[in-house]
Each structure stands twice: as C-alpha cells, then as structure tokens.
C-alpha cells in the first residue's frame, strides 16, 4: 500500500510534465492538423536553456528558499521566451510555407526540424549529460512502514509539490485563456474552419503563431521541471518525452486540453507503475505499446470525438 502510494505520487509528478508537453501537441494538431514532430525538441530546448540559465546564475540548493523561488521564476520566464522563439521560427520557416502542400509534407519537414534542433543543441552543448546538484530540496514524510528489510518511507518532495502545483496553476490559466478570451475563440474558430475564420476577420496566421508560442511556453516550463526533477538534461531528452507526450495527447483525445492533461497523467502513471511492478528496462516499451494500442483501438481518445470516413 505504502509502496503503491509512493508510485502514485511519482506517477502524478511525471504525468504532470507529460501533460504540459502534450498540450502543445494537442493545440497544434487541433488547429492545423499536423503532428509537430519537433515539439519534443522544443521541450528539450526549454530544458537546456533552463539548465544554462540556472548554471549561469550560480543557483544551488543552498541559496535560500525565497531566492530560489524568485530565481526559478526568472529561469522559467527565460526558458519560455527562448522556446517560444524557437517554435515560432520553426512554424514560420518549416510549416507555414507548406500549408496547402500535400499532407505528409509538414510531417516530413517537422522530422527534419526535429533533427536540426537536436543536432544544433548537441553541437553547441556537447552530447554528454551534465548533472547538476538538486536545487529544490527537502520534502515531507507521509508514512513510514517498518518491514524486515528496513523501513519504507513514503515521501512527497518539495520538488514534486512544486511540479504538481505549478502544473495546476498553468492549466487553470491556459484553460481560462482558451475558453474566455477572444484569442481562444479565434483558436477554436480556426480549428473548425480556417477559411471561414479568415473571412470573418480572424488573422489566421497570427492565431496559428500564437498557438505555437503557447505550446512552446508550456513545453519549456515542463522542460525546466524535468531538468530540476532529474537534475540532468541533454539534447536527446525531447525524443522520448515528446513521443510519450504525444501518446498522452492522443490518449486524451487530440484537440482537447483537459484530455491532454488526463492523458499525461495516465501515461505518467503507467510508466511509473510498470517500472515499479514489472521491469524498469521495458518501461519505454510499455509507453510505446500504449501509443500503438491507443492509436489503433482508440484513435479518438478518451475525451475526443470519433471521425466518420467520407465517401
């Protein structure tokens, strides 16, 4: 029971990160119907940027709570801006000129862009991972159980609290943004029918750009959290995290924001539970299998609408 509770906490933490990335996939897919294959790498750019800024600030675990929070806010802001600039540029250079081209063109272009981002970061920052001492430390011991082999303590770390709470806050902010503002209305209109939206005076290009920027900002925040949680990041973290987050987006129902979050949590839980109760080695296989099973048997996702084939 205690063991399960611990895995639950870990899974929700991981799931929050996946959920934040998944939102970027789901929004972009919703609005222009393409998988932004480079989105995982935008997450990576956010993560690496956060790593560099933290390093540049000389931030360590002993800096004092207030200072750490203030500094992390600044790091988050920088990472979000930089990642947004990346995603905006990618959209302008690699996707926008391809609107109206054949269906696979943007996907192939996105794969190309993903390779470019990975290699760009690898060349500039080397390939090997560089671990950093934990910055957000401490936590709470929720439960202790004494067993023959020693005691098992259920921990909820401050880092986990930070991740879960900030995810909730960001989710709330973005949901309001999309449901209540004219920008959100424009986005939903473009999802339905871009031509009609344009005829009604919505700047479709701008709406799409903003969607990419919003997705990137969330991914960058996830990147920061990922880096802080694991204490390490490198040029390749976006590949796996990206695919898992994409799985989350599809699982939740592509185009649905709450769906992306829900999907993220499910994927995070599956991954941690699989590692805890089966084999750690095959946790990625489990994630990929979930992806395959979901795409084949549940392509409309948990909260999505089914598509009818037109003849």
């Amino acid at each position: 029971m205690e063991y399960f509770l611990q895995q639950l906490i870990n899974g929700v933490t991981l799931g929050s990160i996946y959920g934040l990335i998944a939102i970027g996939y789901t929004m972009v897919y919703g609005i222009i119907g393409m998988i932004n294959f480079a989105h995982g790498d935008v997450f990576m750019v956010g993560s690496v940027t956060a790593f560099l800024v933290v390093l540049g600030m000389g931030l360590t675990g002993g800096s004092g709570l207030f200072l750490i929070i203030l500094a992390l806010l600044l790091v988050a802001a920088i990472a979000m801006i930089v990642a947004s600039a990346y995603n905006w540029t990618i959209e302008r250079l690699a996707y926008k000129p391809l609107r109206g081209s054949f269906r696979l063109a943007p996907l192939i272009s996105a794969i190309g862009m993903s390779i470019v981002l990975q290699e760009f970061v690898r060349i500039n920052q080397e390939g090997r991972p560089k671990p950093v001492q934990p910055i957000v430390t401490g936590g709470y011991e929720l439960m202790t159980r004494v067993t023959e082999s020693g005691e098992f303590i259920v921990r909820l770390t401050n880092m986990q609290i930070l991740i879960i709470i900030s995810t909730l806050v960001l989710m709330a902010v973005f949901t309001t943004l999309i449901q209540k503002t004219s920008l959100g209305r424009a986005q939903r209109a473009c999802e339905q029918d871009q031509k009609m939206a344009a005829l009604l005076g919505i700047d479709v290009d701008r709406t799409i750009s903003i969607t990419f920027i919003m997705g990137a900002a969330l991914a960058a925040f996830a990147g920061l959290m990922f880096f802080l949680y694991y204490g390490v990041t490198d040029f390749f973290v976006g590949f796996l995290a990206g695919i898992k987050a994409f799985t989350a987006a599809v699982l939740g129902g592509i185009g649905s924001l709450p769906g992306a979050m829900l999907g993220g949590l499910v994927i995070g839980l599956i991954e941690t539970m699989w590692s805890a109760y089966f084999t750690v080695e095959y946790k990625d296989v489990a994630a990929f299998t979930v992806l395959v099973v979901v795409l084949i048997f549940l392509p409309q996702g948990l909260l999505g609408k089914p598509e009818v084939e037109k003849v």
Partner: protein, 462 residues
C-alpha cells in the same frame, strides 16, 4: 502587385528602407533569442564543477551571416519582379530529361560495374560505394512502401535490424547448434533468404495492426514499432546479448574466408592476401542485391500488385470500389519492402562482422526516408541521385575544416552532417517537395509512354 500591373517592364521597385530596417531588427531579436544562451554559453565540465564558457564571437558571426543573408534577399530577391514567366523555363528541361531518361540507368549500372577498376581498387572509394549502395537498396525497399503504396513508414530500420540479427543469431548460435561448425562459412548464403523472409514476416506482423491507420498516425505507430524492436534488442539480454552486440563471422567467398590462412580466398586462388579482395567482393554482393531490388520492384510495378499499390496511393476508396482487397495490398507492400530491408540488414551484419542495437536507431529510418523523399517519392533513379548526394555529403563534411571556425571547441565538422540532413529535409519540402525526379513513368501504354507530371501524382494519405 500594383507595380507589376502598371509597369510591366520594371525590374525592381523602390525599396522601403524603413520596412527593411524594421524587418532586420526583428530578425536580429529572434536570432538572439535563438542563440542566447544555447550558442552563447557552452557548458563544460571541468575538474571540479560545471562552468559556462562564453562564445559571443560565434553569436556575432552567425548573427551577421543571417542579417546579411536577409538583407541580400530583400535587395535582390523578394522585391524583384520576375523578368519572365517562370513556367516557360521548366518545359524544355523536362523534355531533355525525358530524352536521356532511358539511358541513365544502364549508364549507371555500367559505371557501377567497372567502378572498382577505375578507382584503382582504392579501399576508401570502394568502402564508400558499399555504404552508398546499401542505402540505395534500403531506400528502394522503403520506396515500395512510401513511394508506391503511399504509406509513410518511420520504422523501416526495424526490418534492417531483423535482417542483421537474423544473420547474427543464425550464424553464431543456431546454425552451429543445428548443423555443426562446418556450416558457418556458408552461413551468409543460407541466411540471406531466411533473413529476407523473416523481415517480410515481421512486415506483415507489424503491418497488420496499422492497416486502419492513415497519415500522421500511421507514421507515429511505425516509429513506435521501430523503437519497440530496438528496445527489445537492447533489453533482451539472453537472446541478443543486449547493448554489447554480437560479433559475427564475416561473409566468405562461397565458403572461402578472406583470411591469410591456407584455406583462405587468397591461398585458394594462389594470389597474395590483401584485405581489398574482401571489399571488392562485398561491393559486388551489394551491387547484385541492389540490382535485384531494382529489377524486382520494376517488374512488380508492371504487375497487377504494383498497379494496385500505386492506385492505393492515389485513392484508397476508389480501390475498394473496384474490388481490390486493400488490406492484402498494403500487407504485401509492407512485406516486400521489409524483405529488401532484411536482405540489406543481413548484408550489413556480414560486412561489419558485428551487430548491436545502436545501428538501428530512429535516425537511420529518418535518413532512409530522407533519401526516398529527396529522390522524388516513387522514382528509383531519383533515389540513386539522392543517396549519392546525402551519403556523399556526409563524407564531404569530414573535409570541411574551415567550418571549425564557427564550431565550438572539440566539435568536428562531421557532426554537422545530421544537421544538414535535417535542414535538407525541411528545404526540400519547401522548395522541391516532389524530389529530384518528379515525373512518373506509366506502367502500360497503347501508343506512347508519356511521363506523368508530378503535379498529378498523389503522395498517399500516409
């Protein structure tokens, strides 16, 4: 537009320098955001800690390059009115291509046949040619799935892996166990067809669940399959020896190993032992395999199955309305494409003498796909050109030492090659999405074979 309408003879129009300046400023801001901190500060591990090393010179150089490029585009390209309609320029080029078209392939084959001789048996040339031919063969195999049947497969490297591991495991474990050690020198020849069949079988196994999927989803699921196979190869230690890989016997000349010993190839023919014979032998093996792929695919295109593949790419619903079993049609495409991947994989293992999961990462699939896309989806000649361009440029990057100036310390110009592949994919999609060879040759004709313009050919739904 208005300038063009009123003054048709005008070549340029007045520059709006304020707008250009504004644009350049915007570009500079975005560029700086892209480069700071990722380019501007490099993290390095010193003896005691992690430190940042500023690299502002590189940022400045790159920024100036981008700004100069954008300014040049403003001044010379974007605001210029085209001197002549572009359409007329492309027409004669196409007819020239058609004129020499039928001779290109035979010429290439003849060239390939004599290449080892004209290279003066240069080890490096032959090695590079083997490398290129392997990728040509892989791309021709993938072309059946992507180019002909129009199904985007991002996990093609899995079949390459199946072929390689089939050879590795059969030749080191199972054949010696079943038939004794005497079989080992012949293992390559016996395994080759088995590897192809196993890969085809895997093509069907992996193809079956994805039949209902199309477009992006199909692509992602095939990618997931490719990764699952690789992860299983890494983790199933008892079976595959995990990440350490397997050392396997190299290919032999019909049982004669290329060694200096008495029972070796050199001794048998009474010539002096030289490693180069092994490479020449490998060269002709892969050439033969590649040509087999070419001719079989070409033949299949002219058979009902091949026409059904192309019809599937054009319109799946229409296919079904004509009584074509699209399930079987897709599965045969997956299976036959996978089979050639399996052959290539088996060859790869026999050439390398070693297999490990590291050789079968997603990026390999992406490179093969890039070659198919660059070549022009469906065009076999285009793929040859693309493979030479991509693989040749890989080689070229090793030589570009002047690039070291803008690269961080310790980075080699050869590291830029994947960056170039990625950029190449993006640029091709933007400027020449149909690849080098865009025209499609009909498979049957009444009076004359007229190539079909690429604009009419569909790329499939995934």
């Amino acid at each position: 537009m208005t300038v063009q309408d009123t003054l048709p003879e005008a070549r340029t129009r007045a520059y709006d320098f304020a707008a250009i300046a504004k644009d350049l400023f915007g570009t500079a801001v975005v560029c700086l955001l892209l480069m700071v901190p990722i380019v501007a500060y490099k993290s390095i591990i010193t003896q005691y800690s992690l430190v940042l090393e500023p690299r502002w010179e590189t940022v400045t150089v790159l920024l100036l390059i981008v700004l100069a490029g954008r300014l040049a585009m403003h001044l010379f390209v974007w605001h210029r009115v085209p001197a002549r309609p572009v359409a007329s320029a492309s027409a004669p080029k196409a007819s020239l291509a058609e004129m020499i078209g039928p001779y290109v392939f035979p010429a290439l084959v003849v060239f390939a046949l004599v290449l080892p001789f004209i290279s003066g048996f240069d080890r490096r040339t032959i090695d590079l040619s083997i490398y290129i031919l392997t990728y040509i063969m892989l791309a021709w195999g993938l072309n059946i799935v992507v180019g002909l049947a129009g199904l985007l497969d991002l996990g093609y490297v899995a079949f390459y892996a199946v072929g390689a591991y089939a050879y590795a495991l059969l030749s080191t474990v199972y054949f010696p166990y079943w038939f004794g050690d005497g079989i080992v020198p012949w293992a390559f020849y016996i395994t080759l067809p088995i590897a192809g069949l196993l890969a085809a079988l895997w093509g069907v196994i992996l193809g079956f669940p994805v039949l209902r999927l199309r477009g992006d989803y199909l692509a992602i699921v095939t990618l997931a399959f490719g990764e699952i196979i690789r992860l299983v190869l890494i983790n199933w230690f008892e079976f595959t020896n995990g990440p350490q890989g397997i050392t396997v016997p190299k290919a032999t000349f019909f049982g004669l190993p290329f060694t200096a010993g008495d029972d070796g190839f050199a001794a048998f023919f009474g010539i002096e032992h030289d490693r180069i014979y092994f490479y020449i032998f490998l060269y002709y093996v892969i050439l033969a395999l590649a040509l087999l792929t070419y001719f079989v695919t070409n033949r299949l295109r002219r058979l009902p199955i091949g026409r059904a593949w192309e019809a599937l790419r054009e319109d799946e619903i229409a296919c079904r309305s004509l009584g074509i079993n699209t399930t079987n049609t897709k599965l045969t495409a997956f299976a036959i494409g996978a089979m050639f991947g399996g052959f290539a994989g088996s060859f790869f293992a026999a050439r390398q003498g070693f297999v490990s999961p590291e050789s079968f990462v997603f990026i390999e699939s992406a490179i093969i796909l890039a070659i198919v896309v660059l070549g022009g989806l469906g065009s076999q000649i285009g793929i040859v050109i693309a493979a030479i361009v991509v693989m040749g440029s890989f080689e070229l990057f090793r030589e570009l030492n002047f690039l070291k100036a803008i690269l961080p310390e310790g980075a080699e110009p050869s590291q830029l090659r994947m960056l170039a592949v990625g950029l190449g994919m993006v640029l091709m999609m933007r400027f020449r999405p149909r690849g080098f060879v865009t025209r499609r040759q009909p498979t049957v004709f009444l009076k004359e074979r007229k190539a079909v313009s690429g604009d009419l050919v569909k790329e499939g739904h995934g």
